[in-house]
């Protein structure tokens, strides 16, 4: 890792953050498995409805 990227590490201990963060994602389940489960879950819907869902979403501009 180049020098410039090492400097990014926070100077504080992580306890400052932990005090503020309520729940962290320290779950035992592997990220990849979690994503797979969600995709399995929604894929059947996606296959039939994705195009219609996307095409019917038409907005006017805002600020």
């Amino acid at each position: 890792m180049p020098q410039q990227f090492e400097q990014a590490h926070p100077q504080q201990t992580s306890s400052d953050i932990e005090e503020t963060i309520l729940t962290s994602s320290q779950e035992t389940q592997d990220q990849s498995d979690v994503l797979d489960d969600i995709l399995d879950d929604i894929e059947s819907t996606l296959e039939t409805n994705a195009e219609e869902y996307v095409n019917s979403f038409v907005q006017k501009g805002g600020e």
Partner: protein, 556 residues
């Protein structure tokens, strides 16, 4: 040097009808949703659009009838409700073709995020009410693009000292807004305003930013918006930021508000710390900020170089590192440091934001040095960086189905990520994997109760207690009917051209200037609620006790 200041967010939601074959008019649907947010008592309250009086005027003046807007003289329900005062002191209204929620004024970025999420609950409830009232499958999305050319906004507002020259604000904020995308972007499928090119980028909003600075917000959108409508007193301006994404995750939102607030403090305190802002800004000045905005958003390698005006080049990550170091430098000069060299940050929110900023830059460095395969496994970082988490899900599906980035199913996931209804939201399924800064109960409480530290408390509680007597409300002024006025039965006549004659008996209106966002907080107003039994007496008593000094917007 603190991250605390008056902050408020505005979120425009996308409104649509679910299912095939629907033709819909988003303007009408927006009215339907806003109407769904109203209850019987708040239907009669107007939003006061009049130009505010010059600030620092005497507080608590009797409003001249000629100065009253005609529709403030009626207490009949509005036919087309365009404004609703939310129970928490925020505002739900129709803005162009979108229902919008403006959060009540808060004094801390963590609170601001909580009140922003409270808006999601308020708007989803309004949407469900509108579905019931209209029988139509209305749906809201919290995003910024439709992939077909339209974009709508998620705005941040910061109260800051007017004494800082705006040119310095513009130069520093340009650097920040172009480069903060690397950790606050919410991710988008498609490149270009019409998604002309297939692909994925860090930010929803970047491709719709086309100029460096300007007043406009709906076309040729600028990096720096110059709208100068302070909703405060003359010592302060409101920095209105339009470049941000609608995030679903907490950490990017805290960072967006927190780092920006810290940099505004840098501007306000640089002189005191003998910090050479001019040289700092000169050295980092981007040759083409608009192009850089797009480059940074499109650059998944996180290594793209950005040319500098005075020669050489840099990266978004390096600019962020230097911005953070500058804050450290000024804070150390102002506050001194502890034995570890850490500035003595004055409060917990500031300490947290500075640590989270450092963590964000560490996360981006980790992502930058990871291959795509490795990036798919970065679970802790994905709990803090929204564009990464969204990318992981999309990339997984892309590999699984061997599709390219133009595939409708990828666009559908991007869209469903933003669905506000928890039943159809893809993000909701992953929310437990992300780092949160408040609980669901906190957000629900914030949907029903105003922040206690600002005038939002008075606004919300005035409406809660005396809704039938509230004629009009705005950020900086409250107007109520004075039912005890001696000339109460003097007819208004045709003067106002108001056909609803019976409703417009001349009840005097009493108006309270609440331009100072911090003066009318719970501590100051609570006693008046206990001792007054009508709205006019309440405001009158608060007017008498109004402080005459300029507000201290900063939580020193």
């Amino acid at each position: 040097m603190t991250v605390r200041r008056v902050i408020g967010t505005e979120t425009e939601y996308a409104v649509s009808l679910q299912g095939a074959g629907h033709y819909y008019n988003p303007v009408q649907l927006s009215f339907d949703v806003v109407s769904g947010a109203a209850d019987d008592s708040s239907r009669t309250i107007r939003w006061d659009y009049r130009q505010e009086d010059p600030v620092n005027d005497a507080r608590g003046t009797r409003l001249e009838r000629a100065a009253a807007r005609p529709d403030m003289l009626t207490d009949s329900p509005q036919l087309n409700i365009t404004n609703v005062i939310a129970p928490n002191g925020g505002r739900v209204y129709v803005d162009h073709a979108h229902p919008e929620y403006s959060a009540p004024e808060t004094v801390d970025p963590f609170d601001a995020v909580c009140y922003d999420h409270a808006g999601d609950l308020i708007m989803q409830k309004a949407c469900e009410q509108a579905r019931e009232q209209t029988g139509q499958p209305i749906a809201l999305h919290r995003n910024n693009v439709d992939g077909k050319g339209s974009s709508w906004g998620t705005h941040e507002n910061y109260m800051m000292l007017r004494s800082v020259p705006f040119s310095l604000v513009a130069r520093l904020m340009t650097l920040h807004f172009v480069t903060r995308q690397i950790y606050v972007g919410s991710g988008r499928v498609g490149l270009g305003e019409h998604s002309e090119t297939a692909g994925y980028q860090l930010s929803q909003r970047a491709d719709y930013i086309q100029s460096k600075i300007g007043l406009q917000t709906t076309f040729d959108r600028p990096i720096i918006n110059t709208r100068d409508e302070s909703h405060s007193t003359s010592d302060y301006r409101r920095l209105h930021v339009i470049v941000g994404d609608a995030n679903r995750m907490d950490v990017p939102q805290v960072l967006k508000l927190g780092t920006t607030s810290m940099l505004l403090w840098l501007l306000e305190n640089a002189d005191q710390a003998d910090f050479d802002l001019e040289t700092f800004l000169n050295d980092l000045e981007l040759a083409d900020p608009v192009a850089a905005m797009h480059t940074v958003s499109h650059d998944l390698s996180l290594a793209a170089t950005l040319p500098l005006t005075h020669g050489g080049q840099t990266t978004a990550w390096l600019i962020q590192l230097k911005l953070r170091q500058a804050v450290y430098q000024v804070a150390a000069a102002v506050h001194g440091t502890d034995t570890t060299g850490e500035p003595a940050w004055p409060d917990k929110s500031t300490t947290s934001v500075m640590a989270m900023w450092g963590q964000a830059l560490a996360d981006v460095a980790t992502i930058r040095h990871a291959s795509d395969d490795e990036r798919l496994g970065l679970s802790v970082e994905a709990g803090r960086i929204e564009w990464l988490l969204k990318w992981q899900l999309l990339e997984k599906l892309r590999r699984k189905t061997a599709c390219d980035w133009a595939a409708p199913r990828l666009k559908a996931i991007d869209l469903a990520w933003a669905a506000l209804d928890p039943a159809s939201s893809v993000f909701t399924r992953l929310a437990a994997r992300t780092e949160r800064v408040h609980t669901a109960e906190d957000a629900q409480r914030a949907a029903n109760n105003a922040p206690e530290a600002t005038r939002a408390w008075l606004r919300a509680n005035l409406v809660r207690r005396f809704a039938p007597d509230v004629a009009a409300v705005s950020w900086s002024r409250l107007t109520v009917r004075d039912r005890n006025a001696e000339t109460a039965d003097e007819p208004v006549g045709e003067f106002y051209g108001n056909a609803d004659h019976n409703q417009t008996l001349n009840r005097h209106l009493f108006s309270l200037d609440i331009a100072d966002p911090l003066a009318f907080n719970k501590t100051r107003c609570e006693q008046a609620f206990a001792s007054c039994d009508n709205a006019a007496d309440l405001l009158r008593s608060l007017a008498q006790g109004a402080p005459t000094d300029a507000p201290d917007a900063h939580m020193r």
